[in-house]
Symmetry: C2
Subunit: 458 residues, 2 copies
């Protein structure tokens, strides 16, 4: 459901109140990026941008929300005008540059850049991080699972293990855009037009007098679309039952046990009974590794239902993404900024990423200042999606995003796309950015040698 402006942290408000009171509304740029890829990931797939844009478009504080904010003891100290004049009229008026959804991205590359008056840019931080990082985590997982399935369909059905009903819906969306064929989640089907798919549950089988009745009743209604779940009691027995009863389901589903062994046995029974067209669909705590193992052992599995691993990105449920102030207007000039905490250095200035290709595909990315010239063969990844608070590009159809993602990822070297021990795709820092970073670092370090520095930051 559309998140409001209270989907943020208290400190964003306490800071914004003082920025307002001080007239500190300089235009500032913040960049959202992932510091390091989770250990198992060779790449990420950008996702969530559509929700970021729609969040910014609708970003308004209601009177009730403002009344709540005023009641918070800490905020009580803020200038009353902040609640009376500033918040009621607040709209997002800034610019957003972003990487298109479905684009493979790497550590340190800005996914979203917000340039706006400081309080606006600050107040939207939390929701932008939450939205982008979550969907990007899920899309990245889904791309891995889809790759492992080697062209066989993958259906996302992890809604029940997602982090709430909203997360279930957005996880379905992110999974689809990164390669899944369908989702079981109806809210996602309704809201985003995703194809939906489903089979039957164990309770369906158990609620009937026996498996034959359960299967027959389903097929009476849904005919040869039915996917019969055969592992409630004994999969081999159930497969034999289907053959003897002359049922012709679209597929059978195995949800437990040794899927490789069972799929071979079931295939044999089905083929022996003239059901060569009936597919075998498997599920049950699958992830990219299990899918890859089944595919590479060449067992007769025609499709995969993947749940928890997709809806929670189970092995990497969060990305260490941040939203960092990289420049601020000081008297008409955008001054680059950086932070110098141990192990948490950020690159200063507003940046662009160029993806450099040769005839074989992408060979490396260049991370540079946005004002630099394109490197030879380089395509800029960030484009302007919101200008002066107004959306600049129509919403892309989700199928189009999926096609784009498949093609963009498919152009990368196979080694970068490996599930395990993926090759590191090179992200090169431009000479200009490198130079600026070194200059700023040394200025900051000099000053922190002395305990009472209070000179200007730049």
């Amino acid at each position: 459901m559309p998140a409001g402006p209270l989907s943020t942290d208290l400190y964003e408000l306490t800071m914004a109140a003082v920025y307002f009171a001080s007239g500190k509304t300089s235009i500032s740029s913040f960049e959202l990026f992932v510091r390091t890829l989770p250990g198992t990931r060779g790449y990420l797939i950008a996702a969530g941008l559509e929700q970021v844009i729609s969040y910014l478009e609708k970003w308004r504080f209601t009177a009730a929300e403002i009344m709540y904010l005023r009641s918070i003891p800490e905020l009580g100290a803020a200038d009353p005008k902040f609640f009376e004049d500033f918040l009621p009229n607040l709209r997002f008026t800034g610019d957003v540059w972003a990487v298109a959804e479905g684009t493979p991205i790497f550590a340190g590359e800005p996914i979203v850049r917000v340039t706006a008056p400081l309080p606006e840019a600050q107040l939207v931080e939390t929701a932008l991080l939450t939205t982008t990082l979550f969907q990007t985590a899920i899309a990245s997982k889904a791309a891995r699972v889809s790759e492992a399935a080697g062209g066989r369909p993958v259906i996302e059905f992890g809604g029940r293990r997602a982090h709430g009903t909203d997360a279930a819906m957005y996880a379905a969306r992110a999974s689809y855009l990164a390669g899944c064929q369908a989702t079981s989640n109806l809210e996602a089907g309704y809201r985003f037009g995703l194809p939906v798919s489903g089979t039957m549950s164990h309770s369906w089988v158990m609620s009937h007098s026996d498996e034959l009745e359960a299967f027959s009743r389903h097929m009476e209604v849904y005919g040869e679309q039915s996917v019969l779940l055969i592992d409630t009691y004994d999969p081999i027995g159930a497969a034999n039952l289907i053959v003897r009863a002359g049922l012709q389901p679209a597929a059978v589903r195995l949800d437990s046990g040794n899927l490789a062994r069972l799929s071979l046995a079931v295939r044999k029974i089905l083929d022996g009974g003239g059901l060569g067209e009936t597919k075998i669909f498997v599920s049950g705590d699958l992830d990219e590794y299990k899918v890859e193992a089944l595919v590479s052992s060449d067992v007769p599995v025609d499709g995969f239902g993947v749940g928890t691993a997709l809806s929670t990105s189970s092995d990497a449920p969060s990305l260490n993404g941040v939203y960092k102030l990289v420049e601020i207007d000081r008297g008409g000039t955008m001054m680059p900024l950086m932070k110098l905490s141990p192990e948490k250095v950020t690159y200063p200035g507003a940046k662009q990423v160029w993806r450099v290709r040769d005839s074989s595909g992408p060979v490396h990315d260049v991370l540079g200042l946005r004002t630099e010239a394109n490197p030879v063969g380089g395509e800029p990844l960030l484009s302007c999606v919101v200008k002066g608070g107004v959306r600049q590009q129509p919403m892309r159809a989700i199928e189009e995003v999926q096609r784009y993602c498949r093609s963009a990822l498919g152009s990368f070297p196979k080694e970068v796309r490996y599930c395990r021990n993926a090759a590191v795709y090179p992200v090169v820092i431009s000479t200009t950015l490198d130079g600026l970073t070194a200059t700023l670092s040394s200025k900051l370090s000099e000053r922190s040698d002395t305990v009472d520095w209070n000179s200007r930051l730049l």
Copy 2:
């Protein structure tokens, strides 16, 4: 935001359509439980029940949603009356028994039991699982972190890494009820009345000319409530700066580096400067293990800000919880049911959990049929929260849930509450339940020896 009835899987609808068309609306009971605890967990804390009840109360299909359902190819085969008569009038009319929020629970114990006409009980499955499992996962993590903090306050501020803005809000709620002192999430503060708390960001410091200006400006407005973030450039330098400038903040915050070493050094500087009252608050990728290490090394840390670990339950982002049909009405008698897939046996029948205490606290739980007599010293954990679709208990204040949780968990042996190598708390299967399970298992196994059984399930 309130999830609607489309927060479910397609198969729930395809099955419900046939149940409806067949007049198969027998009263059935489903139990929601977690099969096994994640490796690191000695217990779970039940959470999410309040949202389950409010979901069931508002559970209605809108006309637009029904039109969408009709457009799904697979559902096109269903009886038109399902869309015209059944769905528009559908309400939740069943009973719900559940464990109170904040109660410590263990593997296999029903958290929620739904007894309702089969289609209703089936259609709410996905949303009930999503809601209960997510909040229970987060509450369980929060209880561990709070325990590790040994009485020092823990503030949840993981919203930015949560699985979307809704997940951020519910993670804040679950964290609070299981022991956190506050959250940074304003939506959670607004919606649930949770205490909110915040400090300042690195960008605040960077947006000012220097740290002194950044700190002074904050304190001018917020006075001695201010918590100053001192690791943007150099924490030692910043601590000295605070002392020399004569600032008297409530606390300083360290967000990076070696927190043990830095907190000792900063404490010395603050104490030396007469700031013995200024507390040291630490954050930065903390979890229960890091919190415990800081607490046990007795460094001068007064409070913890915990983010990602709490908002995603990072090491166990999902619980393998299920919702299983355990009994169904057959001609006026509730017949117990079970499933016999390899490694996925469930206990049949509608159950109760009794927590058996001696003078020292809980000693074991008994899982039995709900019709059994209370074991000596046993307190039943499941109570009726919804009857005939109507809420039976007023909503509990969240502070009350927190107090109850703290006291309930605190009464367990310390070994069960360990972060690492927790002792296994015994859950005993009652003799009656054990007998019923054995009888049903052997009946089911006999039948699956033969490939063409089609006798009745019971």
